[in-house]
């Protein structure tokens, strides 16, 4: 997967986040403060612009730029968390011009580690971690199983999606939704939902 692939990924994310903006905001309205869709839409639109202006040469540089842009433009909890995730992925890639599936898996692990270091959320706390962690595991397993890229990314997307849906019955223990206590039960976590969109976009970028 080369720079072009990751540029396509960001394009896909920007498109799907923009299309799902209201949906994400409504999820956040139920157990948060009704800004998650606007936050990510603003962030990924800015990331697209930053990429267009800078045309980074490597996947690593591209993802670091995306992460920095998210940190600079999003705010809220998701800005630093997603920003760190993309930056960690990018740093993991170093200046390699192209990466393979195994390297992508390692980078996703690094992204997850960055999110967990910053947000201190465990799986089951009803956060984006609940989508990112199963996705990372599924990708690692796919690599071990020697799956083709398309299948592997499909497995990661499915795991993220499943993880996001699995947040519905959980009681939140991190982020704004935790203020609701038991009333957070019965709603999908907006960050987990957006993580599933982001991971899903990887698959879409691959099949472009």
């Amino acid at each position: 997967m080369n720079t072009q692939f990751f540029a396509a990924w960001i394009e896909e994310i920007a498109a799907v986040v923009s299309a799902q903006r209201d949906h994400l905001t409504q999820l956040d309205a139920a157990i948060g403060d009704a800004d998650h869709g606007a936050n990510l839409d603003r962030g990924f639109a800015a990331a697209r612009e930053a990429l267009a202006a800078a045309s980074p040469a490597t996947p690593g540089a591209l993802l670091v730029l995306v992460g920095s842009t998210l940190i600079r433009k999003v705010g809220g909890a998701s800005g630093p968390l997603y920003g760190t995730a993309f930056r960690e992925m990018g740093k993991q890639f170093g200046d390699r011009p192209e990466v393979d599936l195994a390297e992508l898996g390692t980078a996703l692990d690094a992204a997850l580690a960055g999110v967990r270091r910053l947000g201190a959320a465990a799986e089951g706390d009803k956060t984006m971690v609940d989508a990112l962690a199963p996705a990372a595991r599924a990708l690692a397993q796919a690599v071990r199983d020697g799956l083709a890229a398309g299948e592997a990314l499909g497995a990661a997307a499915a795991a993220a999606e499943e993880g996001a849906k699995a947040t519905v019955p959980l009681q939140a223990r991190k982020g704004r939704a935790s203020y609701l206590g038991p009333r957070s039960v019965g709603h999908e976590d907006p960050g987990a939902a957006s993580s599933a969109l982001i991971i899903g976009a990887l698959k879409a970028a691959g099949s472009r």
């Binding site: 800004d35 705010g75 800005g79 009333r183």
Partner: protein
């Protein structure tokens, strides 16, 4: 959604243009969304920086000025500011004595301030941070993001600001800021939801006879829903929550704060009941503030915040302050 705005995307910057036009005592960087005291940085004075999502006006920009904040960073509506804003503010108010970050305890605020503090630290600015977490409606446990920062933010900004104005060192200013927070408790009640401009419709729906107890300042639903009752009963519920957490006694500073859509007439009715509650508990209503200070856009409701005063805190509360929203003594 009915709002006096030009467009959903320009709400914050349009308001900052208005703020700049209204208050010549401020220097407003509209593009970067940083509001400075016109005379910042003050050499030798600890700089105070706060910030958070917009929608809580006058917090924080309305508290920038003599005896209070040196800079404020308004984020998008209900979205914490980004590190760039906070770094510009921090570096811009550092007069060589270091900078205090006053951070309301929300994951987003905490993370963004943390990033800014690290980066400003790299640039040689000494930064201390005080977390405000006064809202007793949230349990402060491993199973939550911890208590939210609400009305006590005003107390921390005023009192720490007064101490900073005397030339006190950063460690002292940070200590008094933490002391104010430790001695403060809040509880909020909503009669209506809030409409975030970008969302376009109310964040939650409340029936005609319902209220939300234990709300925050971002239109989050509260911990429980309850039937609408007399102001007296609603105040008792709120004050009991405060008093159970930190029993009221001695000289007490009280803020009865409107959430943005509640008329002052009703806030005074609430205040009368709060005063009666304090008397019942044998505490002294020693300083007080009634009005819209830490709001949640157009939400109807109120919050009450108490702070158990010491002589030092009382003296600092009484010290002159000159900001758009809080002014006395000059």
């Amino acid at each position: 959604m009915k709002k006096l705005i030009n467009s959903v995307d320009t709400v914050v910057t349009d308001a900052l243009r208005g703020l700049a036009a209204a208050h010549p005592s401020l220097r407003v960087n509209v593009a970067d969304k940083v509001v400075f005291r016109a005379d910042a940085p003050r050499p030798g004075k600890v700089g105070l920086v706060s910030g958070g999502g917009s929608g809580h006006e006058p917090l924080h920009a309305g508290f920038v000025g003599y005896g209070m904040l040196d800079a404020a960073c308004p984020g998008e509506v209900f979205t914490s500011p980004v590190p760039d804003q906070l770094i510009e503010a921090t570096n811009g108010v550092d007069g060589g004595a270091g900078v205090l970050h006053i951070v309301k305890n929300y994951t987003g605020d905490v993370l963004n301030f943390q990033m800014a503090a690290e980066l400003s630290g790299d640039e040689g600015v000494e930064v201390a941070t005080v977390l405000v977490n006064d809202d007793v409606a949230v349990q402060d446990s491993l199973y939550t993001a911890g208590r939210r920062g609400t009305g006590a933010t005003l107390f921390v900004e005023k009192i720490a600001g007064a101490l900073a104005e005397t030339g006190a060192p950063l460690a002292d200013v940070a200590r008094v800021a933490r002391e104010v927070n430790d001695r403060s408790r809040s509880f909020g009640v909503a009669l209506s939801s809030v409409t975030v401009p970008a969302a376009g419709k109310p964040t939650f729906e409340l029936g005609e006879g319902e209220i939300e107890l234990g709300i925050g300042i971002h239109g989050e639903p509260g911990r429980t829903r309850a039937p609408l009752r007399e102001a007296r009963e609603i105040v008792r519920t709120a004050m009991d929550a405060v008093n159970d957490d930190l029993p009221l006694s001695g000289d007490t500073l009280v803020l009865v704060n409107g959430m943005g859509g509640t008329p002052l007439l009703e806030l005074y009715i609430v205040f009368a009941e709060v005063a009666a509650y304090l008397e019942e508990k044998g505490a002294t209503l020693s300083r007080r503030l009634v009005g819209n200070y830490v709001t949640s856009l157009d939400m109807q409701g109120f919050s009450v915040t108490t702070c158990s005063l010491t002589d030092e805190l009382t003296r600092l509360w009484d010290a002159p302050v000159e900001t758009p929203a809080l002014r006395w003594g000059r």
